[in-house]
Structures are given as C-alpha cells and as structure tokens.
Point group: C2
Chain length 378, copies 2
C-alpha cells in the first residue's frame, strides 16, 4: 500500500473514526485504525465492536486531487499514535507506505515516522446490512432529535434497556423517547420513508452521543437503515454502525398525563436562570431539590433551603397562570436539562398536582415534551 | 454591615481572593472569604495560611460610584457558595447586608439569598509587614520572570527547598533561579530598588503560579517587600502575601558551564515542533527521551525509537553549527518546556559533550538561560 494524501482530509477522517476506538477493549486489534487504499480513494475504519465508523476519502473533490493512490493495499495502525502523528506533521502533504514487514512509513517534509502495523486481514468485518428499507432525515434535524432526548437515558445498568433511546417509526413519523424512570424526553418528527414499514428499536445512548459528534450541521439527508440488531447511519463519506439494545422498551404512553390542574407559562431563559440560582444552595443537601410555588399576583416563587448553608428565594413573573394553586418540589438538574433541550423562548408547564409527573413543552409546539417526576417534600 | 456594590467589581475581587482559598484546610474559617466594609470601600481577603490575598474595592472610580457603604462591618462567607452566587446573580447591582445572627442577605433583582456567616473576628490576621525596603518591577516583566523560571521547580518534596524559586537581589539586579536538579532555569532583570540592600530568598513555586494568575498585563509597577519569612507583592488594589521557604538554596553557579565544545543555532519554532513530533513515540518507552545528532551539511537530526511502536527521524536545518560533532540524548519534555519559556525566534544551544549539561539561550540575549542535563543512552 502506498498513497499520497492531503493532511487535512486525512486528519478529519482519522478524528471521525477515532470516536469509535477505545483503549479499553479485549480485542487488541481494535485499538488500531484500519486503512484501505483502493481504486476510488482511502477508507478508514474504527470500531469498539458496539459502534463502528467508516470514513471514505475520495480521490478528487471538485477537480482538486486529495489522494494519489500509488499502490493498493491495507494496514492497521495504532489509533492513538497514528492520530497524534498526523496532527503534528510539518507539511500539508503526507505519504504513507507499507513495507513488506508491515512497518508503515509516514513521510511529511523532512519528517519520517515508521509505525509497526498489523495485518488488516485480522481486523473484524463490519456488519453486513441489507439496505432494503431506508428512511431519510436531514442531518441538523437528526442531531436535534438526538440532543433533545439522549440526555434522559439511564446511566445505571440495573435496567439496561433504559440506557438506550426508543425509536419508533410509523406512518412516516419518527418518535424518539428516553427515560431513566425519573424523567422522560419525547421528540417527534416527520420523516421521508420509502415504504410503509414500522420499526420499534432501542439505540444505545452512548452510540447516539458519538454520532452527533461527527455529524456536520448541514441539512443534507442522512440515510438510516434499521435491521434486527443493527442500525446504520449513512452520511456523506461516512458510515456509522451501532448495535441495538435487546429487549422490550417499556410502554411510556400511559406515563404522560393528558389532563392538567395548573398551567404556567414562563419565559424560558428567566425560568432557567432562576432554577440555576436556586440549585446553588440545593446541591449540598437533598439531591439538588428546589421548590416552586404559585403566589399571588400571577407570579411564581422558586426557592431552596439547605440549613447548614443558607436559603434562596426568587420571584419570577409568569406570562400566565391558570388553574389550582400549587406547591411542588423537583430536581433542579432535571429541570435545567429539560429547559436546555427545549426550543422556543416561552414554555408551558402542565401540573397535575404536587405528587404527579408534570409536562414541559415549548408554547405552541407539540413535537417535543419533557416530563419530570416531582420529589415529595411538602 | 450593609453595602450596595456593582456586581462586576465584586466578582473580579472574589475571583482574585479565591485563588488563595482551598477546601483542603485544617482551619475551617479559611474556607471562607472575609469581607470588610469600611470608610474607603470594601476589602476582601482569602487565605490558605501559606498564601493570603487581599483585594480592595474603592468607593469611586473616575466619578463612577462602585460601592455605597450603608453601614460599616465585617463577615466571613463560605467562599465556594459566595463566588457561585455572585457569578449567577440576575442584575448588575448587589446589596449585601449582615443580620444580627450573622446570616447575610444577598439581594439582586428579585433574587434573595441568605448565607450563614462566620464572625470576622475569628479570621486569622494577615502577616504584619514593615514596608521599609521596597523594590519595584513592572507587572508584565514580573509575570515574565516568573513564567520563565517557575516551571523548573521540583515537584518532589524530597528536597523541599527545590520546590521554590530562588530570588537574589544585588546591585539593582534581580536573579531568579529554579531547578529540580535535572534542569535549571535562570532569568535576570534590572530592578528599581530604593536602597542598596541585598536579598537571597526562596519563594514557593505554588505561590508564584497563583500570583501570575491574578496580575494583569499592564506595565504598572508592583511593589515587592521581602522580610525574613514573608514576601508581599503590592499591585493596584491587591496585596499578595506568601511565606518564604526556609533553608539554604544550593549554589547553582558552578552548574552552568562557561565553555562549550559544540554551538548550534536553530529557528526556535522549527526545533520545538521537531522535538514535539519525536516525543510522540518517546512517551511510552524510556521517559520521553529523544536524540539529537549533528549531521553533514550543517543540519541536525532529531530521532526517537520505541521498539514496540516504531521510530521517527527528522532532519532540521541549523542556522550555524560550530565545534565538535555531537550525539546527545535528553528529555523531550524538559526541552519543550525550556523552548516555550524562551523568547526570540532563534536560539543558541551550547553543548560541552554528550554527558555534560547544556545551555539554551535566545540568540543575542544574556538575561535568560535554560540548562538541561542529558540522559545517557549512547
């Protein structure tokens, strides 16, 4: 294998596939990046066996030569060293050549590295996925869908299924749901599906968190292929494979109340900042719990007490309050996570009493909701 | 105590004195910040008993009222909570009022915090320093002096005196020396001393590292007062006290060779980048050691080998090479630290053989030098 390549393209590709590489693997060859030089360009692969990422660098882009293939072939190089080396090379052009003993020469300017390589034949094969059923989502919408739900997955392995996000596709609509059983995030979007099939799968939260790191912010369509135990995201020059979680996701539909006793509308940023301030004194004591109470004059009061440290009380105006008076306590962290995930300058919170889950939505937007279970303190 | 203050000034002051506050103290009150409201304004103090920082906020600045003192007094508030609260307050104006039970009310907009305070009478007194003998250094020069030497102090407590920087004042010249016995940094500067006294003290590296964080980049003069066991730096609105290290600093003069066998001049940045690349493969194996060799044609070769990983060789041009041929090995980290501390686009390295310490200086600048002990490998 021998090729000459523009460093910037190689570096971008290496950094993308590195997202799947971990040093804590029981399969030593997976600490490496597989590099294949072929007719059309260079393909890099990184994998931790749960997630696999493949990045393709084409020979030419808009008349500009990016890769010159001198000799086809393949090699696996230690990901950590290879990526550090590419980052620090002295010139914009890199030559990579595999010698018969698998030692790989990396030349740039007057700098010459020789890295011990591994036989690419021993690198695990990527899952084979039949691309029969594909649906498409614009990249920026996909990132939004993930960002607005994935933070609510469980971090505990006691119910492994809750560490993933439930994706349901039906009637050209995608519904993403995540819950750790104390809060729930739900986001819907219309999708372009080429068929009328339906899916109900659970994608590991960790995979989705890595995926959003390597997607750009364009509106280019991402192809999504779901099989029995794998999901494949196909973006431009990039394949992202993740295994699916096994098991049935709980039916979350009945958790979401469809009536309410108190409705509050507030300015998102004002409310978020007040919660943030109240949480300053709540972190120490009882699990970061703050209190919300409706008060006279159409305002709400946010407060928190930690006897050893002190107290905080803040009144914030509401755009509207309807229904019963209310005093309720909840996790400031859950509330801030939810508010940061919501779009829109105003939000509506629908309470069904101090002991029942409540729902936060952007005003006039039904595609997203955040649900939080209150904490018993009153 | 009661005063109204512009939040930005208070926040800056809090962040400055926080540099001296640590949560790992055996004296509980030192986890707090002392606040004193007096005739001229507000004074804040933070201390870990080794370092003490006092910041003064004056009542007026250029006709702008910064503090309005309603009632004089003092209090000690938990540093961590107080600083977080001030950072997140909703408006630019803050009112602080101590109640008879020492609970302190912090009001801003519609937000009201009450923090449990401690009696300021119980806060340790700052060292009393007679300001008989003062010398002066511009702030930016002082920061340079520290930055160019402090990284070479020892991090090991086996010889505590080496964890400090040796400051010697004589004949209106300040010499700063730091060494961990594997390398040495030396920087001289002329100072404005109002007297002909001389000093020879050792200032803890940790104190100097905190000091440069709170000094601005102006050329305003900093007053420096040295006593038997304390040093005081007086900048605008800021007092910084540090204890001195006890004991005699070793005589480092004879370590620095005054002859040389090989003289090399290189472009600093080119040389630094080559060392950085060579160190990529050196980190794993033998203590980050790289090799330098003079080669034919007026160039030098930087190389490194870690058999399990690979090798790197790079040739870099030298501006000039004089004297004997040389092969030498040294720590890439020490070399990079030294090069980053030096000013100037070209440096001169003076070698006295492969086993002797060598000296790095900016070309045509005798005020600074870095010395490194080689590693035996050839």
């Amino acid at each position: 294998m021998k090729f000459i390549i523009q460093r910037d393209y190689l570096l971008q590709s290496v950094q993308d596939v590195m997202k799947a590489v971990t040093s804590r693997t029981t399969i030593p060859i997976l600490t490496g990046i597989k590099i294949v030089a072929h007719e059309e360009g260079v393909t890099l692969t990184g994998s931790d066996s749960d997630i696999s990422i493949e990045s393709f660098i084409q020979k030419e882009l808009e008349g500009d030569e990016i890769v010159e293939i001198k000799q086809r072939g393949s090699i696996v190089l230690q990901a950590r060293f290879f990526s550090e080396i590419i980052k620090k090379l002295p010139t914009d052009i890199v030559e990579i050549e595999v010698q018969p003993n698998l030692q790989t020469v990396i030349r740039s300017g007057k700098s010459e590295f020789k890295l011990n390589g591994l036989d690419a034949e021993e690198y695990p094969h990527l899952p084979q996925i039949l691309e029969e059923h594909i649906f498409k989502i614009p990249t920026n919408l996909l990132k939004g869908l993930i960002r607005q739900t994935v933070f609510s997955v469980s971090t505990s392995e006691t119910r492994p299924i809750l560490t993933g996000v439930n994706w349901k596709v039906e009637n050209n609509e995608l519904i993403c749901i995540a819950t750790d059983s104390h809060r729930l995030a739900l986001r819907k979007a219309e999708i372009e599906a080429g068929n009328t099939e339906s899916y109900n799968v659970v994608i590991p939260g960790k995979s989705l968190n890595e995926l959003i790191k390597i997607l750009d912010d364009s509106s280019d369509l991402v192809d999504i292929v779901i099989t029995e135990n794998q999901v494949l995201f196909k973006a431009k020059h990039l394949l992202f494979f993740s295994r699916l979680l096994e098991g049935n996701y709980p039916d979350t539909g009945r958790l979401i109340p469809n009536e309410s006793k108190t409705e509050v509308v507030v300015v998102t940023k004002q409310f978020l900042n007040a919660i943030d301030r109240a949480s300053l004194l709540a972190k120490e004591g009882r699990n970061n719990v703050v209190k919300l109470a409706t008060i006279d004059g159409g305002a709400i009061e946010i407060s928190s007490i930690t006897p050893e440290i002190g107290t905080v009380v803040e009144e914030i105006p509401s755009q509207s309050i309807a229904g019963e008076e209310l005093k309720i306590s909840f996790s400031a962290k859950y509330m801030m996570d939810a508010l940061k995930a919501l779009e829109g300058s105003e939000i509506q919170i629908s309470f069904t009493g101090a002991m029942r889950p409540f729902v936060i939505r952007p005003l006039h937007d039904d595609s997203i909701l955040q649900l939080i279970l209150p904490v018993r303190t009153y």
